[in-house]
């Protein structure tokens, strides 16, 4: 099976719930996955389907009831249902995945759309609709809870709720649709299985409330960063990532597309400010350990700027010939291999910090940028881009000014990109009433190699053709 397009075992996937929330799950064979109030399902039942499909959880009433009687302790456990592909009409109601709870886009066809609404009357206007709060609904919370316990399908529950709603027929068709969608978010038992793309992982973290951890990043800022940094499968990139590996995951996905078999030899070298790099989020990635080892290297700031010499390394450890190493016993053997690993890491540090020049510098750190970027940029090849992500414009501004006065950097610019989502319904197109703020900023420039100091002769003044223009424009008249 193609794990990039098909749901497969032992893979992390992202599950989209009716509440528009995301959940990352690992698909272990012969296990079940609980989605809380949205039900639970067997992993084996969804394996082999392509990504992007929506499944409904349903229950054969006999089975679940017999389960209950057998084991009373399991009463609070979410019963595991069977799954079937959700029919097209219902799925369409869920057409908007990334937006707030306040505006749920309506379906894109003639109204009424939902099967739940096919047999009810509606009103042309809401003229006769009187706000009577919860009194309009004759079902009590207890009764609804009971229905849920009885594992009725979401359609049955919603049908009953509509029937028990006194003024439902006074609502307009659009308003009815919204009502049904809102109820679905509560009672529907369906889920969509998606590939764990970098954007999906970001969305998952945002939903979880980890905005600070991901430095307020947005999909659009990350997309622009990848393009401006000219990320390619065979590039070697210097990277600082304070998001716990999200930025690295964005790079890897663009470079290799999740493919463990990729023949490309690009590398991401993560420079970290603590003793060890934090790439926690890569635990969700479906790259093999071997793949990550080959394509992601970590070096601390200290090792990067003050690498050990070969002599220093060899003074502390020299590997034994293979046969001798194999002959070692027990604790000695373990400690030998631990030290061998250390030795190899050190040799790698040497290699990564030597005369090697990188194909790009990509930074998302809260360290003071004017001190970090010019130093790291020493290791960047001429003509290669430098892109810094910052949550705040001001920190990038200070950096841009610093780089502007340094001839090794060409045309530092501060960029911002924002995505504005619309309610995407025919005849009712308008921007959503609320959207996420933030999204950060980017500083983009190119590493260049200044021409050697002009010979002394008679020349004292050096002006670049472009700085002539730019400085002229910048004179401030007071």
């Amino acid at each position: 099976m193609d794990t990039l397009t098909t749901i497969d075992f032992n893979q992390h996937v992202i599950v989209r719930l009716p509440s528009k929330n995301y959940k990352v799950v690992e698909l272990k064979p012969n296990t079940s996955i609980s989605l809380g109030k949205f039900g639970a399902f067997e992993v084996n039942d969804i394996i082999g389907y392509p990504f992007g499909l929506t499944f409904e959880i349903y229950y054969d009433n006999e089975e679940t009831s017999s389960d209950d009687s057998k084991d009373s302790k399991q009463k609070n456990k979410i019963p595991i249902g069977k799954v079937k592909l959700l029919s097209q009409e219902i799925k369409d109601d869920n057409n908007d995945k990334s937006d707030g709870q306040s505006e749920i886009p309506l379906a894109i066809k003639k109204i009424p759309t939902s099967v739940e609404l096919s047999s009810v009357d509606s009103s042309a206007t809401n003229q006769n609709l009187v706000n009577m709060g919860s009194k309009a609904q004759e079902l009590t919370i207890e009764e609804i809870e009971k229905m849920k316990q009885e594992s009725l399908s979401s359609k049955e529950i919603i049908d009953k709720i509509i029937k028990s709603h006194k003024s439902f027929h006074n609502k307009t068709a659009y308003s009815q649709e919204k009502y049904v969608n809102r109820k679905k978010q509560k009672f529907a038992k369906y889920f969509t299985v998606e590939y764990l793309s970098s954007s999906n992982l970001l969305q998952f973290l945002i939903d979880k409330g980890d905005i600070q951890r991901v430095l307020d990043m947005s999909q659009e800022s990350m997309g622009m960063l990848l393009n401006l940094a000219n990320i390619q499968p065979n590039g070697n990139y210097l990277c600082m990532d304070e998001t716990g590996g999200l930025l690295v995951y964005f790079l890897l996905e663009r470079m290799f597309g999740g493919d463990n078999e990729s023949k490309s030899n690009g590398k991401v070298i993560v420079i970290h400010e603590n003793e060890h790099a934090n790439l926690d989020l890569l635990k969700f990635a479906n790259y093999s350990e071997k793949f990550i080892k080959e394509h992601v290297h970590t070096v601390s700031l200290l090792d990067f700027f003050e690498p050990p010499t070969l002599e220093e390394i060899q003074e502390r450890f020299t590997p034994l010939p293979k046969e001798e190493a194999r002959a070692l016993k027990g604790g000695k053997k373990n400690s030998y291999y631990r030290r061998l690993r250390w030795y190899n890491t050190q040799l790698q540090v040497l290699e990564l910090t030597g005369n090697f020049l990188y194909d790009g510098l990509v930074v998302a750190t809260t360290l003071h940028l004017p001190t970090v970027v010019p130093k790291l940029a020493e290791k960047v090849h001429g003509s290669r881009p430098i892109v810094c992500y910052g949550q705040f414009k001001e920190t990038l501004l200070e950096l841009a000014h610093t780089l502007y006065s340094d001839l090794r950097f060409l045309a530092p610019s501060i960029l911002e990109t924002r995505c504005r989502p619309y309610q995407s319904v025919r005849g009712k197109l308008h921007p959503l009433m609320t959207m996420k703020g933030g999204g950060g900023y980017l500083m983009w420039c190119h590493r260049v190699i200044p021409a050697p100091e002009p010979a002394l002769e008679t020349v004292t003044e050096v002006e670049s053709s472009d700085t002539v223009i730019e400085h002229d424009a910048k004179k401030q008249k007071i």
């Binding site: 997309g223 493919d259 501060i414 197109l429």
Partner: protein, 387 residues
């Protein structure tokens, strides 16, 4: 075989290389290095032979004609984003904020097989080509097709991972057959190209006419992403209708707003300094009045300061320059070390307030699985566990 000059990384500038010469932000020129040629600017001439052999990113300096100043340029290796800035516009182009968002949202990677219609100025084609497995680009305008084909050949894209076809996709769909005007090279016995696209980008005036043709060329066993790029909201409305009819789901339209900021400085001018300056002016004014009074009364004696200065028109010149904390009356360069500055950002004077609406939709054609295959996998796994 022409090497793709947009992919991979080059160290030294070589004879025959396509370079981008950066003169200024809005003057970036594509130049192919030929040792006998000269690159001319209004500041002076840069012989290619002085550029060839230097590392990419090098600044090249010359002394300008008749002055003691130096002028310089930077020589860069082309990237799709720089290319977009330098582009000879054949049509309205898709700019980086839009193209980068589309690529990210459609999860572009070496795994992607992309359909693009139309090619236009080829700006987005370059960005796609850099990042995806294969790009199938369609252009219905004969001249633009030929120009784009020529350009893609020169850039080494055709020999790498780009196919361009002359086609009105709204009328004739996307299938590439033998005998079509296309850069596609058919392998022995092949009568039609296998596109199997999983990403589709439609930059067409009437995308609704093209959408029905997609089913025969998109991948059947995986989720396919589509983006329509339309400037008018009426186009979006029509597109939504047809997407619904043809089974595209998860439909969402968005708009991207890109902004670029200039880093600038504003002088910090304190209230105290402003007050002090006014006091200073006032003081000098009073002194002047008194002096004139004394002159009028003929009481000027030798001990008084110098004779009052008057301009040719007879207006007295005050010595207000004595306390001039803000450098009034002279042109101060932004950031002058003699003054205090606050770093500020200034948005471009003209912004692209609307490029186009981006309508995204997704489709899975074959929504089934092979139970047999799943069972096989399961059994082999269970067996492994037992062993």
């Amino acid at each position: 075989m022409t090497a793709n000059c947009f992919s991979g990384y080059k160290d030294l500038i070589k004879e025959g290389d396509l370079t981008l010469i950066w003169v200024s932000r809005d003057n970036i020129k594509p130049v192919r290095m030929q040792s006998e040629e000269i690159f001319n600017t209004r500041y002076g001439s840069f012989p290619h032979k002085d550029i060839i052999g230097k590392p990419y990113g090098s600044q090249i300096a010359i002394r300008t004609k008749g002055s003691n100043k130096f002028a310089f340029i930077h020589v860069l290796q082309p990237t799709p984003e720089l290319w977009t800035l330098s582009l000879p516009h054949r049509t309205q182009i898709v700019y980086t904020p839009d193209s980068s968002y589309i690529m990210q949202r459609l999860n572009c990677s070496p795994h992607s097989r992309v359909i693009e219609a139309g090619t236009g100025s080829g700006s987005f084609s370059h960005a796609f080509a850099r990042s995806v497995g294969h790009l199938f680009s369609f252009e219905f305008h004969q001249v633009r097709y030929e120009q784009a084909l020529e350009e893609f050949k020169e850039h080494g894209l055709i020999d790498d991972n780009v196919t361009i076809t002359h086609r009105d996709v709204c009328q004739d769909g996307f299938v590439i057959k033998k005998g079509d005007t296309t850069s596609y090279e058919f392998i022995n016995g092949e009568s039609a190209a296998l596109l199997n696209a999983n990403v589709v980008f439609l930059d067409l005036p009437a995308p609704w006419d093209a959408i029905p043709h997609l089913d025969s060329v998109i991948a059947t066993d995986e989720k396919v992403g589509l983006c329509c790029f339309s400037p008018c909201i009426e186009q979006v409305d029509k597109t939504l209708e047809i997407l619904g009819k043809h089974g595209w789901t998860d439909v969402e339209m968005v708009e991207i707003q890109g902004r670029q900021y200039e880093s600038r400085r504003q002088m910090i001018r304190s209230l105290d300094d402003a007050l002090e300056r006014l006091r200073d002016i006032k003081k000098h004014k009073i002194q002047g009045v008194e002096r004139r009074k004394r002159m009028f009364n003929n009481t000027v004696d030798s001990s008084d300061e110098k004779i009052e200065k008057r301009s040719e028109e007879g207006i007295p010149l005050t010595e207000k320059a004595k306390f001039n904390p803000f450098g009034k009356g002279s042109r101060i360069k932004e950031g002058d070390d003699n003054y205090k500055w606050k770093e500020v950002t200034k948005v471009e004077t003209e912004i692209k307030s609307h490029t186009s609406y981006l309508t995204f939709a997704f489709k899975v054609i074959n929504k089934s699985r092979s139970d047999e295959k799943v069972n096989e996998v399961l059994q082999s796994m269970n067996k492994q566990q037992k062993d």
